[in-house]
């Protein structure tokens, strides 16, 4: 599969080098970009994303539409916290309105630090909005479900 859900391997080492700061106040700016498979991206390019992804790429990214612009949109950080022995962080849900988009996956990356990739999200199937709203809802911010967890 060209898009495989994964925490990027490079991100794991970058966490140990304090490259990423997810704090709501004073933290880095993280963006989410949408990707297509099967030549659905702009210029008919196909995304190949997974654990080996190291940084944001325009290959396979969907075209701008409605409030979605290429390069992705900024996420709203939620302060990292802990639950039991697990540390986790979260983002506010993100919506792109009046958008005609078909996407198979997404990438969260650090816009502050050289566009370094955080994780790749696989939607499982193509998700399409036609002149409508394309919303990404993040999982509950809990130790067993949060979007980014260190157990």
């Amino acid at each position: 599969m060209a898009i495989s859900q994964a925490m990027c391997t490079a991100f794991k080492s970058e966490v140990l080098k304090a490259t990423h700061n997810f704090s709501a106040s004073g933290g880095n700016s993280f963006k989410i970009a949408l990707y297509a498979e099967g030549g659905g991206g702009k210029s008919s390019t196909t995304a190949t994303l997974g654990a080996a992804t190291t940084a944001f790429t325009t290959t396979g990214e969907v075209a701008s539409s409605g409030t979605y612009v290429t390069g992705g949109l900024a996420l709203t950080n939620v302060d990292p916290t802990t639950g039991g022995t697990t540390g986790f962080t979260d983002f506010a849900d993100k919506s792109f309105t009046t958008a005609t988009i078909t996407a198979m996956g997404a990438m969260i990356y650090n816009d502050t630090n050289s566009d370094k990739a955080v994780c790749v999200l696989d939607f499982g199937t193509n998700k399409t909005s036609t002149a409508g709203t394309f919303t990404i809802t993040f999982p509950a911010a809990a130790a067993s479900t949060a979007i980014i967890r260190i157990a």
Partner: protein
Amino acid sequence: MFDVGSSVSVGSIEVLTTDNRGHSIEEVAQMAADRILYVADEAPPPIRDQAQAFKNTLKQTLIYYMHQAVEQDRATICAELRKNGYSDLADNLRSL
């Protein structure tokens, strides 16, 4: 020698889409309720059922007040439109 085991994981997101419209109040209320209260499938049944019942009540409350918010916002916009001579547009907006 000591080994410290750890794992870094990514959670599962959900994607919601619409065609030729925005999300309805009910859809947004469901998103809000899901963010406010997470009920684990593996929770003990009595606790899970009680939490689920509370979540349903929460959702209905959110729906009610979101309707109020939309209605009040439209009333404000309609008043502005009328004030600026766009009564027909205001009437159309009120009828939505």
